[in-house]
Structure formats: structure tokens, C-alpha cells
């Protein structure tokens, strides 16, 4: 029998418990540092920008004068671009998810589709900008710096996100639902569109909103397709040259005039409010419609 209470053993135990406490403290510090950085960022933006938010800032468009410049033009551009993105990526993404999850045969080319979807989700966004510049502007001749070409480029970026979310949502629908529909004589297409898709829709919508939020904050691919121009009149259609909210932030951040610091921060607050609202909606949808089978 060994004696557990020698001074030597006690000292070792003390050292080990000390290491335990230190390890725990380091973990806590890591969390606090990360959250502290987030708080620092948000507080800086709010402190710099909250005084700049008023009605004229929200309803004016870009201007060379910081006092009269506003975000409406770029906000409208963002909404138009998001509209194009959603109109393309949502149907495409949902259809691709349905096909891959419900109908795709186990064949080699289906593996290629899956690999390319997973890789597209990880391709740097600036590469999509290169694609947009070379394909949509130089080859297809779409109007430069328009919401149309921006929306199409972002749609290619958003589609993999929607496909991945859609597949997970469809996979979560239990097979018994399908079996029941097939058993009463529904065709496979009817089964999917009448029963599986409605049940998977909340999950798909959550993924779509998250993908759209990412697209809304995206700047780099839009830089490539020429959305860097100074545009003082809001676009009236998807083919007009326009700016978008993140691009407006980028343009203002380059201004030498100190007054633009307030504008930039205020525009960042507007952008963050939009993103927060979208993510909040996604969380709400997930919680409200989440079904445990």
C-alpha cells in the first residue's frame, strides 16, 4: 500500500490542480478576448456612426459632400442585386438539392456534381468576381456595374450554400412520409412536391436566408465587375449602374475627408442591422418550424 499523503504527493497534486485552474482560465480568457474584440468593433462603429443616422442619410444617395451623402442609392442597389440573386439561386438551389437527394442515380457524374458543389462553397469570393468579369461582362456583354451582373455573380456564390442546406433539410424528412405517399399511389414527383418539399421548406428557407446574408455583405466579387463607380442617382432597374451597401462603405472608407468616417460607420450600422434582422429571421424560422421526428 502506498501512502497518498506524503508531502511529495501533496505538492504534486497541488501542482496538478493549479495546472487545471490555469488551463480553465486560459480557455475563459480566449472566449473573453474574442467577445471583447466583437464588442470593441461594434462599440467603435456605433460611437462613430450613430450620430450620422438620420432621415436624410437614409433617403439621400451618394454625394461628394459628406453632409448630404446618404445610403439610399446603394441600399436600393443592394435590394435589386439581392432580388436578382434570390430569383436565380433559390429555384436553382432547391431544384438541385431535390434532384441530388431524391432522384440522382448512384453514378460517377453525380459524385462530380457533389464534389463541385462542396468546392464551390469554399472557393474564394474574389474568384467569382473574375468569372463574372470574364464571362458575364466580356463574353455575354451584360451591362457593367449593374445589379443584374452583380446579382448573377452572387447567385453562383449563393447557390452551393442553398443546395447544401436544402439537401440537409430534405434528408431530415423521415422516409415514412415518402413511403406513405407512395403507398396511396402518388408518383415520385408528387411525393416530393406535395409532401417532402413542404416539410423541408423551413430548413431550406433558413439556409437561403443565411446564404443571402452572406451575399449581402459580400464586396470583393462586386469590385471585380466594376461596382466601384461613384453613382449619385439611385438605379431604376436591374440594368442601370448602381452601387451596393458594402461597396458604399468601401468607397467612403477611401475618402480623405474626415467627415466621411461618420458616414462610413453609419452605413456599417445600417448594413449590420440588415444582417442581424436576416439572421434573426433565420433563427426564428428554425425555432418555429423545427420538427423533431
Amino acid at each position: 500500500m502506498s501512502n497518498w499523503h506524503t508531502p511529495d504527493a501533496n505538492a504534486r497534486l497541488k501542482r496538478r490542480y493549479g495546472a487545471e485552474r490555469r488551463f480553465k482560465a486560459v480557455g475563459l480568457i480566449a472566449i473573453l478576448l474574442s467577445l471583447g474584440f466583437l464588442a470593441f468593433l461594434l462599440v467603435t462603429m456605433v460611437a462613430n456612426g450613430v450620430s450620422g443616422i438620420n432621415w436624410s442619410f437614409l433617403s439621400n444617395s451618394d454625394s461628394t459632400d459628406a453632409a448630404t451623402a446618404g445610403v439610399w442609392g446603394s441600399l436600393k442597389g443592394s435590394l435589386l442585386t439581392m432580388g436578382v440573386t434570390l430569383a436565380l439561386s433559390f429555384p436553382m438551389g432547391v431544384c438541385a438539392a431535390i434532384y441530388l437527394e431524391e432522384f440522382a442515380p448512384r453514378q460517377r457524374w453525380v459524385d462530380w456534381v457533389e464534389v463541385s458543389i462542396n468546392n464551390l462553397a469554399a472557393v474564394p469570393s474574389v474568384i467569382f468576381g473574375l468569372l463574372g468579369l470574364a464571362m458575364f461582362i466580356n463574353v455575354a456583354g451584360m451591362p457593367r456595374s449593374s445589379a443584374l451582373v452583380g446579382g448573377v455573380t452572387l447567385a453562383l456564390m449563393t447557390m452551393p450554400v442553398i443546395v447544401i442546406a436544402g439537401r440537409n433539410a430534405i434528408k431530415a424528412v423521415p422516409p415514412s412520409i415518402r413511403d406513405a405517399a407512395l403507398a396511396v399511389g402518388a408518383s415520385r414527383v408528387q411525393t416530393v412536391f406535395h409532401h417532402v418539399l413542404p416539410l423541408a421548406l423551413p430548413g431550406i428557407l433558413t439556409g437561403t436566408i443565411i446564404g443571402m446574408a452572406r451575399a449581402l455583405g459580400e464586396t470583393a466579387p462586386l469590385l471585380m465587375i466594376g461596382m466601384r463607380a461613384f453613382i449619385a442617382t439611385p438605379a431604376s432597374g436591374v440594368t442601370d449602374p448602381t452601387s451596393v451597401l458594402p461597396m458604399q462603405i468601401f468607397l467612403w472608407s477611401d475618402e480623405v475627408d474626415q467627415a466621411f468616417v461618420r458616414n462610413t460607420s453609419a452605413a456599417i450600422i445600417v448594413l449590420l442591422v440588415f444582417l442581424l434582422a436576416m439572421n434573426g429571421l433565420a433563427i426564428y424560422l428554425r425555432n418555429k418550424f423545427e420538427t423533431r421526428w
Binding site: E20, A30, V189, L223, G226, R228, I249, N279
Partner: protein
């Protein structure tokens, strides 16, 4: 007819076709089991016959008509006054098309103005032909579909076949996008390598595309400083920030924190990943960069630049934290409970269990997560554009201004440029390098994760 109006008309025709076909099928439905398909299926069958062939015809028309318009223009009597040099002629004509599209704009070449009238006339003529063509195809398609409506006609299988084709096309879009990216990058890179040798590009130490003229052009496109800047900022500085914070954060949240704390802190950390990169970039330039500069001054550096690798790298690291942390979280959670229990039962403290058992067991997953994080960091653009600087320095000093691959892509392709200069083409070569590197990192990481999961299942 403008495109949007044409689409609207087609949709309207489709709706009319749907309603009439369904009504006819309903009239045929005299009793139970008479019809093969539901009346709605007959409706969809006719609507598809109206819309799809018309759309296909329209797309084909949109592809072939510019050539026909051009030929008609050359055949017009006004074309005789054009210069015979084909390049000059084409520039005048393209300007005339521009003028015809936006009547308010100014002409650069006075000759172009003479052509606006001709172009307008030919355009409207071909536009009417196109519209008529689409209308005829839609009508023929609809009529064909309508004659098919019989009680025993299998409309449902036909419609479902079309639906399947649509789904298939949608899922092929992903491959098409990948192919498009690769084709674009490879094609433009090939044109770049016709001017600059690939060896000089991949091994050269001097990057200054501005002064590249004449025979030395190849020497000014040495991309090593860019690769170094990218690795230094994205793979070294950012990871020095992100790995300890992300890993320790994940360990604390999964092993020590109470369920309530976890429920609140985890979404808060996720916000870090959701903040747009342009916001991080602005924050880096506005707040972090001056702090780094002051730090450099305090450390005795003379005249440090406001744009530093450190500022960009630190902010990028913070952006990556949630990414590392969620990957670490997943791989630690995948370690079987029995291993943890065994270690604790032998008398190890929780921290010893984590350090000696959990982390070694989860290491492949963590490494894969770090690789994914690196691939994201080196592809990150806005933070380096706003905070890292344009000078291609080959130095290990974190306070020095440094440039990255993504920064140069943006720099080379924005502003006034000719599309065919080696300067713009080099951006595609850089893009190709970036694409290949991120692709390799992702493939390896995903494979490691997969094998690691299988090992514990």
C-alpha cells in the same frame, strides 16, 4: 419588344393555355377512372408546350440575330461610307449600337452618328421578326399540346419527365459553374503566359506590373513577394491569432462551460463570422492599424507605415476564430466518450484528459479545420485591400506593409484598363494560383475529416 414584356406575355399565354387545357380535360372527365391524368396535369402539359419551345426559340434568336443584324447593316447603302479597315469599321459600328441604345450619350466618332438611324431601323425590324417568331412558336407549341388532350393521354408522365429534366439541369449548374471558373482562369492565364514566362511568374522576386514594358516585361511579374505576403498574413499571423483563441474557446465551451453559458456565447461567437469582411477591413484600417503603428513606434521602429501586415493579419485571425472553433468543436465531440471516461477514471484531471487524450485523438480533425481556415484566410480580400498595402515587400517584419494575391487581383482589375494587357491578364494567373491552392487545401482537409470520422464510427 423588350425582354421583360415578352416574358410577361409568354407567362400570360402559358396561363391561358393551362386554364383552357384544364377545362377541356375536365369536360372529358365523365366518370371515375376515365382520365389517365388529372386535369391539372393536362394544363401543365399544354403550358409547358407553349412556354418552353418559345423560350428556346427566343434564346436561339438572341444568339443568331446579332450576326444577321451586322450583315444587314453591312448590306445597307450607308455602309459604303465606312472605312475599309475592319478594326476601325467595327469600332464605329459598336459605337453606333451604343448610341442607339442610349440616345442621350455623346459620340466619340462623328461617323457613328450617321449610323444611328440605320441601326435603329434594322434593330426594330429584327426585333419585330424575333417577337413574331416567338409568338408563332408559342402558338404552334400550344396548338400541338392542345390536340394531345385525350382521356387516355399520359399527361402526368410527360409533365413529370419535364420536371425531372428541369431538376437535372439545375443540378448541372454547379458543374457548369466550376467548369466556367476553370475555363476562364486557364484561358486568360494561357494568354498571360504567352507574354510572361510561367517560370518568371512563379519564381521571380520582383513584382511591379506598372513599369513592365518592352523585353523586360517578364521580369516585372515575379509573384513570390505576393505569395509570401499572402502566406505571412493569412497562414502565419492570422493563424497565430485564430488557432489558440479558437481552439481554447472551443475547449472551454465544450468541456467547462455550463449549458446556459454555451447557449448564449456560441451564437455570439458566430456573429464574428457573420460580420461582412468590408466592416472588418474598415475596422482594421480605422482602429487596429493606428494601434499597430503606435506599437511599432514604441518598439523603436522609425517611421512605420500605417498599412501593416500585422493589422490585417490580426483582424483576419479574429474573423477566422469561429471557423476554427466550430471545426475543433466538431472533432472533439467526435472523440468517443469512452476514451474521455477512461482517462478520467484513471485519475487524470479534466485538463490532463483534454491535453493528453482528447486533443491527440481529435488532432486530424483539428488540423483539417485549420487547413480550411487557412484556405479561407488566403482567399480573403477586403481586409487586405483596406489594411495591408500595395507594396510588394519580401520581408518578415510584421510591421512592414505587405501585399497579397487577392489585393493585387483587385488592384489590377479595377480602374481604367484595357482588357488584353498583361497587367489585367496577370490577375487571372494569380486567380488561378489562388483557386488551385484553396482547392488542394479543401480536398485534403475534407478527406482527412472523412477518414477521421470513419476511424471512430
Amino acid at each position: 419588344m423588350p425582354a421583360s414584356l415578352l416574358l410577361l406575355c409568354l407567362a400570360g399565354f402559358g396561363l391561358i393555355g393551362w386554364l383552357t387545357a384544364r377545362a377541356k380535360a375536365q369536360r372529358l372527365n365523365t366518370g371515375r377512372g376515365v382520365l389517365h391524368s388529372l386535369p391539372g396535369h393536362h394544363g401543365w402539359h399544354v403550358a409547358l408546350w407553349i412556354v418552353v419551345p418559345a423560350l428556346v426559340g427566343w434564346v436561339i434568336w438572341a444568339i443568331v440575330s446579332p450576326g444577321m443584324i451586322y450583315a444587314a447593316l453591312m448590306a445597307s447603302p450607308e455602309a459604303a461610307s465606312l472605312p475599309t479597315n475592319p478594326m476601325e469599321r467595327d469600332s464605329i459600328l459598336s459605337e453606333a449600337f451604343q448610341l442607339a441604345a442610349n440616345p442621350g450619350s455623346l459620340a466619340f466618332n462623328p461617323l457613328a452618328e450617321n449610323f444611328v438611324g440605320v441601326v435603329n431601323g434594322i434593330n426594330s425590324k429584327f426585333n419585330s421578326i424575333g417577337t413574331a417568331l416567338v409568338a408563332i412558336i408559342a402558338f404552334c407549341g400550344g396548338a400541338f399540346g392542345y390536340t394531345k388532350i385525350k382521356a387516355k393521354f399520359p399527361a402526368r408522365t410527360r409533365v413529370e419527365f419535364a420536371v425531372m429534366a428541369g431538376l437535372l439541369i439545375a443540378s448541372l449548374m454547379a458543374i457548369l459553374t466550376t467548369v466556367g471558373i476553370i475555363a476562364t482562369l486557364v484561358f486568360e492565364t494561357g494568354r498571360f503566359f504567352a507574354v510572361v514566362s510561367p517560370v518568371d511568374f512563379l519564381t521571380g522576386l520582383r513584382w511591379s506590373p506598372q513599369d513592365g514594358t518592352g523585353p523586360e516585361v517578364s521580369q516585372t511579374y515575379g509573384a513570390i513577394p505576393l505569395f509570401w505576403g499572402t502566406i505571412f498574413i493569412g497562414a502565419i499571423i492570422a493563424m497565430i491569432v485564430a488557432i489558440p483563441l479558437g481552439l481554447m474557446g472551443a475547449i472551454y465551451l465544450t468541456q467547462y462551460a455550463s449549458a446556459t453559458v454555451r447557449r448564449w456565447v456560441k451564437p455570439l461567437l458566430e456573429i464574428l463570422a457573420g460580420v461582412p469582411t468590408v466592416v472588418y477591413g474598415y475596422f482594421a484600417a480605422l482602429t487596429v492599424a493606428p494601434m499597430v503603428r503606435d506599437l511599432a513606434l514604441a518598439l523603436g521602429s522609425e517611421n512605420p507605415s500605417t498599412e501593416s501586415a500585422l493589422a490585417a493579419g490580426v483582424v483576419m485571425g479574429v474573423m477566422i476564430i469561429p471557423f476554427v472553433s466550430s471545426m475543433a468543436d466538431d472533432s472533439i465531440a467526435a472523440v468517443p466518450q469512452a476514451m474521455r471516461d477512461g482517462s478520467l477514471a484513471m485519475g487524470a484531471t479534466p485538463s490532463e484528459t483534454i491535453k493528453r487524450v482528447l486533443i491527440p485523438a481529435a488532432l486530424p480533425g483539428i488540423v483539417a479545420g485549420v487547413m480550411l481556415a487557412v484556405s479561407r484566410a488566403i482567399g480573403e480580400t477586403m481586409i487586405v485591400v483596406m489594411a495591408a498595402g500595395a507594396a510588394a515587400n519580401l520581408s518578415a517584419n510584421p510591421f512592414a506593409s505587405m501585399t497579397t494575391v487577392t489585393y493585387q487581383i483587385v488592384q489590377l482589375l479595377t480602374g481604367d484598363q484595357e482588357f488584353d494587357s498583361p497587367k489585367t491578364l496577370s490577375a487571372f494567373a494569380l486567380g488561378l494560383v489562388l483557386f488551385v491552392v484553396t482547392l488542394i487545401l479543401n480536398i485534403i482537409a475534407l478527406r482527412v475529416v472523412k477518414r477521421f470520422r470513419e476511424a471512430y464510427e
